[in-house]
Every structure is written in C-alpha cells, then in structure tokens.
C-alpha cells in the first residue's frame, strides 16, 4: 500500500483535481497492467475473507443478518424480493405519472395543429404552467417530446438554462440536436453537413439547419425552454426574435415551461418579442393531485405487499406539504423504505413464502426471532386472556411447536390481505357516508392510527342518521358495490369472507325495502322523515311571565317514517359493527409486512447538519467516547483542555461577541491548554527528580507554546473553512463572527 502513512506524507493525488482510483496501478507501470492486475487480484482475494462467498454473477449487496447467522439463501431471497416488489411499484408509479400528464399533452398537441392555421406570421408558442416543482418538469417534457414527435414528423429540442448560457450556445444546441450530430470541434468549429458537400457552416448558423431540413420535410421544429425562469431575459427575447424571423423557412414552435406565472415571463421579455408570439396557456396537473394518485396506487392499494405504518406515512406527507419536496422526493423516500425493510429485516423473507424454495431456507434463528416479536407476544397474551380451551392450546402451540408457528407465519400473508381488505372497505364505506375529509391519503393515515368513534360526533352513525332517504339509498348501493365488486382504483377484490357475504345480503335486502318505501312515499306524495332528521322536531316558544321558554317536541311520526327510522337504525348498527378499524401492528407477525419506523428515513432524507455540527463541536466526547474530555460538563461553561482544538475554540467563540480579538483568543486558548499541560508536567516532575535547569525549562515552555500555536492555527483554519469566522478590517488582528450556531 502506498499510503500506509497518511499522517505526514502527502501523496501526489491529494492535490490532483481528479484521478482514476486504482490502488494497484500505483505499483505497476502502465504498460504491463494486465499481468500485474492478476497478481494483485490474487493477493487481494486471499486477504479478503468475504470475497469468496459470492460466486454468482449477480452482485450481492445485502449482508447476512441475525448476527451473521443468516444463510445466503435467505439473503439472496430478500434481495430478490426487494427487486420484484419494487419493480411492481415502480412500474405503477410510472404509469400514474404518465397518465396524470396526458390531458396536458393532448391539449398541447391540439394547440399545435390548430395554431398552424391561425398564427399567421407569428410564432406559435405554448406556455405550460408546471408549478414550482421544477424536478417534475423533466418528465413532462420527455412525454411532450414523445407525444409530439409521434403525432407528426417533427423534431423536439429541449433547452435548459444551464445549457444555453448565451445565444451562440443556444443556437448550437438547437442545430446540434436537430441534426443529431455531434459537433466536430476543431479549430474553426465549423459544421459540415454531409460528406461530399463542400459548403461549411458555422455551428450556430440556422442556415445549416435549413439546409439539413431541406431533405427531410418536417412539420414542426419544437424548441422547448424547460425552465424559462432560469434563462436570461435578454437571451430569451433574442432567441424569440431570431427564430421568428426564420419561421418562413423553418417551422419553429416554442414551448415554455413556467414555474411562476405567464405575466412574469411577459414582463421580462421585450415588447417587440412579445408581439411575435402567438401563444396559449396550459395548466399542468398540480403536484397535490399527482401525489394523491401515487399515494393511492403505491400505499393504499390493496395488493401492495409491504404496508407502511401511520407514523412514517404522516411524516412523509408532512414533508411533502411543508418542504414542497416534490413527487420525486416522495418516490425516493418510498424506495428507501422498501430498501430498509428488506435490507434490515431478516423476517422479510416471509413476505412471499409461496415462491419456490419454500421454507427450507428458514433457520432456527428465524423461528427464534419470530417468537421475539411484539405481535407474537400480543397474540399469545390475548389468547391466554380469553382462556378457552382452544385459545390456550393455540397459545401453547405457538410457544412450543415450531411447526405450528411456521404454519401461522405462512398464513400471515393471508392475514395481511384479510386485514387490509377489511380495512380498506371500511375506509371506503366511511368515505361514501361522508365521514372522512377529502384527501384520502390523510384519511387513510388517520385510520391506521386512530380508532373510529362508535357513537357521537364523527361516528358513522351520526353521518348516516343525518342522511335523507335518497342519500341513504346511494350509500347502500355504494357499499354493496364495494363489497361485491371491490374498487378497481385501489385494486380491491370482491369480498369473500362469510360475514361479508352476510352483510351483503342484509344490505341488498335493506336496499330493496328502502326503494319500495321510497316509491310508496312518492306515490303517496309525502316526504319521509326519520326521528333524527331536524325537520321532525318542532321548536316551541312559550312566553310565560315575560320569560321565553323553549321546548322541543317530536312531531308525530307517520308509520312510514317509523319504518324508515327502523331501517336507519338497523343499517347503522350493522355497519358500525362490521366496520371496525384495527391497528395493523396488532395482527400476528405484522412485523414481516409492516414498516413503521421514522428514524432512518428522516435522518437520511432530511439531514440536520447544523445540529450535528453543533453537537460535535460542543460535545465531542459524544462521538469520541473518550474519558478524558467528559469530566467537565460543557453546560457549566468549564472546558476541558483535552478537547480537540477546534472544539475549544468553538467554546471560546460562543462566548465572544460579534468581533473577536485573535490575540485574546490565543491567550485564552493558550492559558487553557498550558494550564493543563503544567498539571501533567507537575506529576511527571514529582516522579523523576531532575535538577531544575531554568534554561531548559524555558526552552521547553517555548516549545510547548509553539505546539499550542500549531493547534490553535489548525483550529482557527477549520473554523474558517466551516464558515464560522471571516477576516475583518475593523481592527487589527480581529476576526468577525459570521455564524450563530
């Protein structure tokens, strides 16, 4: 190894801007690389103990869990599960994103075809309001490019503000993309269109493009300004004017991606440029809607195997709302969650036990781990609490019988599906009854964590009672549909459990009764009331001795009304009994398919560098775990001289005002450090009784001071590099404080 002593030597690579990292090459001359490589490769594999483990051609990223006892088959299974599951989700997300923009795409292409006839000598331009989320613009423009090129023979050129810094570059990019040729950048930078033609063009000459297009007729040349806000306004005006002047020869059409508003863009352009534009405005689907759709498809949807818990979902949704993080951030968070689950949870192998290879890969450690689960404990306790013969037997076999445990674990997938479908159905029924607030994502998250109230405000009963007969019929139809057909948007299957079937028949019966009742009432010409609807109550005001008395009387209910009331009562009772939200984490072995831990995701996606820096500077022993510094409590203001220099300086820095005298800082620093040194020295000196040579002592002291100064320099330079201080001209040897961390 060439860098065995990085302490004091600088290698050449340290100051190189960039280089190809190859530790073997350091020893080998370039020419004879292949033989050398083989040699070192052998050596490396000899030293690496894990290297031999995977001989398969697919790289293995996962590490064995269960303190290393996990078999490779399981590890591989987890990795494959992740790949499979995520691929499904990923494809679904892509579909949703594609669909969400389809309306905009259609509008734009319609505009393009119509504009041709109407625009006259102006240049047709589509202004697409994408909203502030510029991260999703890429996708939109990609789709635009696809769809527009499909609909007519045309070229699509995407310009980004970073690529087109001036007019020359922008034109170069346009021509280059349109002719799909890489530029030959020789000394003259000119462009030769085809072999044999002797005419050469400058690379930013639109004549070249014209010439090129002469052979292949195109209906449209689209030039898309993806982030129009990023472009220099003068440049935009120039390009518009130039392209417009070429329009008779080359059929340019412009597309603008706008994050703010069209007025803002207009005000930035020159009046003359604005006059050349024949434009129309298109609104994209807003991020909220897309997010809702993605959430539905990837989180709520019934066929998603990995369920997310309420905590993590809530934090993800909050982040979307508070940080305006964009849909991309949501997707990568989701992916990271999947990665976490399969990477770090050994029991995630159970998520799909039905694939080939069965259970034999499960080990004793897995079974042990299953018995440690909270949900296992919960189940056993519940069974013991019931104290029937069956339940006690169940609990006993769970604890003692491995086979029984495994069969239960195998069933956990069905358990999940059953729980999930039941949960979704109740959610949908509540939605149909109007009992939840519109964004389904929030409602779903709430339903995971909180139980529905059985009665009183916000309960299903309350909402149903408030309904009129027609609304009730609507609700029943919807509920029947939900149980009978499922819900395609959530991939929900028809219900098949016994109690569901029973409920279904009850609902069907009630519905027919209700319809009968309604038609009867209609023919009789009466409006049906229940005892709960407000019209059925009459407020009576009596004035007695100059006091007003309010009293309520139930209006007399007709026979039909009473029938309706009975039906309402029956429906509420059945539905409330049937719809019971249950916490997912209570289901046996839910740990294999439920992920609800906020910590890694939050730290990884939303870093808190300031907190980290503050902590590491103020309390380095938290990280270093050394005994020497811990003694003094930093909160008390006493500092230990053993702290790293940067940390000492940071503490001093905290006490200083906005302007810091370096001389004073140095003396404080030195006093602290030397004070500590002297203590140490005293101990030393008491042991070996030297003849006290004053000169030597002086020299020693001098040396110590220089040493401290070196540390001081280093600490100060680090503070500066981290942006804590900057130089100040207010006073000599003063520095200014620029960070209040």
């Amino acid at each position: 190894m060439s860098t065995e002593d990085p302490q004091n030597t600088f290698t050449q690579e340290d100051h190189q801007v960039a280089f190809i990292f190859n530790p073997e090459e350091n020893e080998a001359p370039r020419r004879e690389r292949p033989p050398k490589r083989r040699k070192t490769a052998k050596r490396a594999s000899a030293t690496e103990n894990e290297a031999g483990q995977d001989e398969e051609n697919s790289p293995l990223w996962f590490t064995p869990l269960l303190s290393g006892a996990e078999g490779m088959a399981c590890v591989r299974r987890r990795e494959r599960l992740l790949e499979e599951k995520w691929a499904v989700i990923d494809a679904r997300i892509k579909d949703i994103l594609r669909d969400s923009n389809s309306a905009t795409l259609d509008d734009v292409s319609r505009f393009v075809t119509e504009a041709k006839a109407q625009c006259g000598d102006k240049i047709p331009s589509a202004f697409i309001i994408t909203g502030p989320n510029i991260a999703s613009q890429d996708l939109l423009f990609e789709q635009l490019s696809d769809s527009l090129q499909k609909s007519s023979p045309s070229k699509f050129i995407r310009l980004r503000s970073s690529e087109a810094t001036n007019l020359k570059n922008a034109l170069k990019k346009i021509i280059q993309d349109a002719t799909s040729k890489t530029l030959v950048v020789d000394g003259e930078e000119d462009l030769q269109l085809r072999q044999g033609s002797n005419r050469r063009y400058l690379p930013y000459d639109l004549e070249a493009l014209h010439e090129f297009l002469g052979h292949q007729p195109h209906e449209n040349i689209f030039v898309a300004f993806q982030d129009s806000e990023g472009f220099d306004s003068g440049l935009l005006s120039d390009i518009i004017a130039l392209l417009s002047s070429w329009r008779p020869q080359i059929p340019f059409t412009l597309l603008f991606g706008i994050a703010t508003s069209i007025d803002l863009l207009e005000s930035r352009l020159l009046k003359s440029a604005c006059r050349l534009i024949y434009g129309a405005q298109f609104d994209c689907v807003q991020t909220d809607t897309i997010l809702e759709n993605v959430f539905k498809g990837t989180v709520i949807s019934s066929d998603v195997p990995l369920r997310l818990g309420p905590q993590i979902l809530r934090s993800m949704l909050d982040r979307q709302r508070d940080h305006m993080a964009g849909i991309q951030a949501f997707i990568s968070s989701l992916k990271y969650i999947y990665m976490c689950h399969f990477y770090a949870n050994a029991l995630s192998v159970l998520l799909a036990p039905d694939i080939e290879g069965g259970e034999e890969i499960l080990q004793a450690e897995h079974i042990e781990a299953l018995r440690y689960l909270p949900s296992f404990r919960n189940e056993v306790e519940k069974a013991v609490g019931l104290a029937t013969v069956d339940s006690l037997q169940h609990a006993r076999s769970l604890i003692e019988d491995d086979e029984y445990l495994l069969s239960q674990a195998r069933a956990s997938n069905d358990c999940r599906q059953g729980w999930m479908d039941g949960h979704l159905r109740s959610l949908l029924v509540r939605e149909a009854a109007g009992a939840i607030q519109p964004p389904l994502s929030r409602a779903y998250v709430d339903s995971l964590s909180a139980t529905y109230p059985d009665s009183g405000n916000g309960s299903l009963t309350e909402y149903i009672r408030r309904m009129g007969i027609s609304a009730l019929i609507g609700l029943l139809r919807r509920a029947i549909y939900i149980f009978k057909e499922g819900e395609p948007s959530l991939h929900l299957q028809p219900a098949s459990r016994e109690e569901d079937v029973a409920l279904l028949s009850f609902l069907g019966e009630t519905l027919s009764r209700l319809e009968q009742l309604e038609s009867d009432a209609e023919s009789a010409g009466i409006t049906l009331l229940t005892k709960y609807s407000s019209q059925s109550k009459v407020m009576r005001t009596t004035v007695i001795a100059q006091r007003v008395q309010l009293s309520r009387d139930s209006a007399a209910l007709r026979d039909e009304d009473r029938q309706l009331t009975d039906i309402v009562d029956a429906v509420t009772e059945r539905l409330t009994a049937h719809i019971r939200a249950s916490r997912p984490d209570k289901v046996l072995f839910s740990e294999t398919w439920l992920y609800d831990s906020r910590s890694p995701l939050r730290d990884v996606m939303v870093p808190r560098p300031r907190v980290t820096f503050k902590r590491s500077l103020a309390r380095p022993y938290d990280y270093l775990a050394c005994s020497c510094c811990k003694g003094g409590d930093a909160e008390d203001g006493t500092m230990q001289a053993t702290l790293p220099a940067t940390s000492i300086l940071y503490h001093l820095y905290l006490e200083a005002g906005s302007l810091i005298n370096v001389a004073d800082l140095w003396s404080a620093f030195y006093a602290l450090v030397s004070g500590h040194k002297e203590e140490e020295k005293k101990e030393e000196e008491s042991e070996d009784d030297d003849d006290d040579d004053d000169d030597e002592k002086q020299q020693k002291k001098q040396h110590d001071e220089r040493k401290a100064l070196v540390m001081f320099y280093r600490g100060l330079a680090e503070l500066r590099a981290m942006g804590f201080v900057k130089s100040s001209k207010k006073k000599t040897d003063h520095i200014a404080k620029v960070r209040w961390l």
Partner: protein, 489 residues
Amino acid sequence: MDTNEEDNTNPPSLGDKMDIEIQETATEPEPSATTPTPRRRGRPPKSKSNNSTPNAKSNVVPVFSTPTKAVGFNALTPGRAADRSARRKSARALIDRVVGDGGSDDDDQLGADITRQIYESSDAEDEDDGEDELEERTDGEAAGLAQGDPATPSKTPARRKARAKRARSPTPPRDLPSHELYFLHNKPGRPKTSDNTLASLNLLSHDEYFSILHDHQDRHAENIEYLESLHAESFPQWAFELSQGFSICLFGLGSKRPLLHKFATYIHSNNKSSKTVGKIVMVNGYAHTTNLREILSVVASAIDPLQRIPTAQPAIMIQNIASLLSAASKLTLTIIVNSIDAAPLRKPGAQAILAQLAAFPQVNLICSADTPDFTLLWDIGVRSDFNFVFHDCTTFSPFKVELDVVDDVHELLGRQSQRVNGREGVAFVLKSLTENAKNLFRLLVGEVLIAMEDEGDEDVGLEYRMVYNKAVEEFICSSEMAFRTLLKE
C-alpha cells in the same frame, strides 16, 4: 449587586408579546398630540418608574424633563425623532459608562440606571428601530413581565436593580437561542474588545508548522480511529444504496477524505470480487485548481481510456460523456467527490453539472460535505437529480490536505501570506510556457529528483550532456541551439 436577580430574566412569554403588538396596532392612527409625553403606548409600569426617578440627571435625558402620566393605551408618541435621539444618547452614555467603568459610586450607579431604563424602554416600544434591537426589546418586556401586574405600577428598587444588573453583566445570559444571541451581539455600538494584538507573537511559518505537526501526537488518535472504523462498518450499506440509484452525501465535522479513500478501496475490491466492470474516479473539490472541465475529462477517460473527448463547455462534455456511457453499458462508474461544498465547486453551474452526471443510471456518486450549510447548494431540481441520502459521518480527523492552515490563518488575520501565491504563481508561469519548454522542465525536474534519491543529499548536479541527450530522445528539441534557448526559459 446580587446575582439572584438573574431569575427575572425569563424569556418573554408569547402571550405578552402578542398583547403589546395588539395594543400598538390599536394606537396606530395617532391623533394629534394631546399629551406631550415622548413615548408610552400602553406600558404604564415603565413610564411610571421613569416618572418617579429623580430628575437629577436630566441633562443626560433632556426629553424626560416633562414626565406626564400615561393615558392608558391612547398615549402616543409625538416625536419619534426626539425619542430616538434620546435613545442614542442614552446608548452612548451607557457605552461610555461601560468602557470607562472604574469604581462607580452610588450616584453614578443611579444615573446609569436611568439611562439604561431609557435605552431599554424605548427599545420596548419603538418597533421601527427594527430587528437589531429585538434582543433588548424582549429583554425589556421580560423585565416588565417579571414585574407582574402592570395595573399597579409600584416602583420597586429591586426591579430597577435587576435590570441594571442584567444589562451590565459582561457575559450574556446563558442558553439563549442562537437567533437571540445574534441580536445580542449585533446591537448598536462598538463591540467591546481589547486592543491587544498579536504583535508580540512570532507567527508560524510553514516549515515550523509542519515540523511541529510531524512530532505531534493527537491524544484522541485512537478514538478517532475507532470512530472511523464505526463508519467503515456501514460500507456495505452505502454500496447497496449506491447500487439502488441513490447518491450519498456524508457530512459532519472532520475530514472525511481518509474514510472515502477506504470506501474507494472497498468498492474496488468489491468490483473485483464480483467481476463487474467498475471504475472509480476521485475528485478533490478542495484543490484550488478544481474545475469542471478537468473533472469531466477524467470521467470521460475513465469510461473509455482510448477515446479522448474534446475539452469544451461542460454542458457539451456532459453530452459526450452520455454517449460514451451508452456505448459502455456494462460499466458502473463510481465518482467520489471530496468536499463537494469547497469553494471551487461552489461556482454556479458546477453543482448542476455534477447532478447531471449523478443522474446517469450507471454513475454512482458519493461525496463529502464539510460546512454546515451545504444543503443550500442545491435547489429542488438539482437535489432530485442527485437523489441524495445523507449520512452523519463526524470523524474529527484533521483536515490535513484540504486546508492550507498557515496561509488560511494569515489571510484571516490580514497578514501577508508568506508564500507569494505559491502554487498559483508557479502554475501561471508554467501555463505561459510553450509545450516543449514544459516538457523540458518536466524532464529536468524528474532527473533532479532521481538524482536526489540516488545520492540522498540536497545539492545535486546534472550532467548537461545527459540532459541534452534525453531531451533529444524525447523529441523535445532537435538541436543544441534549441536546447539552450529552451533551457533558458
């Protein structure tokens, strides 16, 4: 001056602040002056106490000569200017007192109290003075709050003392939130620092710095090493994250260069054992000469060493790299960027280009960030291109290579840096030479180094003839004449 009065400096409750704001907005349309009281606005307790202070020091506070009782919330401020000047004066008086604070007798003390009250109370009311007084303002309110019921403004000496004491104490109250500290530190007036300079101190030279550093033993070396080994344990996880299309950003105190170097070695051995084609490019963001073109051309040469892409605009180079990458579809390229937030990479556009690079599915990017504010480098578009996951990698290892400690500190102190533009100067001279002269120089240096290694002492000589022969061999020059001219350069 007893210290237990510190208790009164509780942070102001929000409710109290709100109250005041409401009151102030309520009196916003100021009617014509009915009472000439300078400032009041619904803070009876304060004005009360001002009223009752003896007028002995009226020369310090001329505006205060006609104290009138406040008329509840409808009291008004006829002249803000007057108020301000009073405030300024009292501030000056305060500063004078603090600066030239000898043994202050009781009388002096009283005066100081008055000025201080003016200073603070006008703070508390004068919103227009803006945020830089916020700190004191809240202080004033806190004092008012601690006093209790404002409806019975009984003047208590303890309170006055408390306030005076608090403002006078040289160390600010502990545990203030950082934004409050900012306002405390940036209050008007000259910052009070001593006039000491480093004149007596012999500043370090580079040689001394390095020679001392060479002998220096860090007492925490072991702990730092252990910490680093802890981080190294998550290498498989990082590799996995990279393989899933995420980029990694390591942040935290201390140099992460050794750690990343280890990680590079890890990836390298990983690549070899799994027999995938992988290349690793190390980028040193802290190097002064770092620029995108160089980075991109190294990246391109890593993808395909045979094809050289022309140096051009970074945006164009990126396109070339894209086409190279699509040709070499099996390759995974790992780019390791040390100090992605270093000054050379903070230039506009640099991060966007790196993000585009990271967005290629074949490219994995892992970088380290050294400053606490690195997240401000990226907007949402760049961020989603990078697709970062962040890991706290506080290492505490010193920045050996990244920082030029001595020069940095001297620059910080405004001293002449002793190496006169060392590296840049040499680079400049070299750049201005012709290609052949450069080659000759390289040859010469190489020979000298070899000779030094062989002989091992400082002054080595080279044989003129030998150098000339070598030069001819390498086609640097054709004739002795040309050789001489080149050598002269």
